[in-house]
Symmetry: C2
Subunit: 158 residues, 2 copies
């Protein structure tokens, strides 16, 4: 990992803040942050916007990756660390591989679609051409609570 | 498969036309088409735009899926068939799963990143919540020739 645990926790807290912005919009609360790990600069943030946009691609990670590419002026996001509150799905794990992000720190594991340890681990697939470092479970209880409360509230309203 | 072989070949030819549009822009020639398989209407097209946009997400399939979501007004692309000239990478295979596309017909196999048979097969992963039908190898020689000529030309110019 590129940063100290304290620094990682602080960045993951910012990803959780992004997740709360998603929730405020009625979206499943998932948030993401991309940091330049040489300068500690926050390059991009994103939160889940799938329902509002009705666009299947608009997961937190994809939004942050597109913003980061725009900011850096390149599809290669070398020397970056991505923080996300939920384990990436296969689309987002693939987007992380494609954009050459160096490391990924995620919160809660996702038994339904998680592709960095739960269902499979695309980052460990040797035949892909990039293999991000990864660490799962950071502030996982906070991330999972956000998600559980969100779905509980939805069931209550029904 | 939802269409006759003749119809499939005709849609794949249109995906190849999209790939040639990519090539004309100096992009790796990969093209995609999404069709409503109840009405045969072409809902969206896309071609690889990664270099021009310098955006890691801008693969042919992602561009077509985003256009299709916009056209249909929903992130759920049920009753659609996706044609793409090259086997989807993990990001695009994941996007196809996330958008509930019913079936995928692809051209050439991709030993470097193909995730629908070459390296793994994400469409056959039982624990994901959607499993598109798929057929690989359609007009594969045409697709592979386009790619080979493109890379040969690049090496020649260097």
């Amino acid at each position: 990992m590129k940063f100290s645990e304290e620094k990682n926790l602080s960045f993951m807290q910012m990803a959780l803040d992004q997740a709360q912005l998603a929730q405020a919009d009625g979206e499943v609360p998932i948030g993401c942050l991309i940091v330049d790990n040489q300068t500690s600069e926050i390059i991009a943030t994103g939160f889940n916007e799938r329902e509002q946009t009705q666009d299947a691609i608009k997961h937190a990670e994809i939004i942050a990756i597109e913003k980061a590419c725009q900011k850096v002026g390149s599809w290669r996001l070398e020397h970056t660390s991505l923080y996300v509150t939920l384990e990436p799905c296969p689309m987002c794990a693939g987007a992380i591989i494609n954009s050459r992000i160096e490391e990924v720190i995620f919160g809660a594991y996702d038994p339904k679609a998680g592709s960095v340890g739960s269902i499979n681990n695309l980052f460990e697939e040797k035949r892909y051409n990039h293999h991000p470092d990864f660490l799962g479970g950071m502030l996982a209880d906070d991330s999972a609570s956000l998600l559980q409360n969100f779905f509980r509230e939805i069931r209550r309203k029904k």
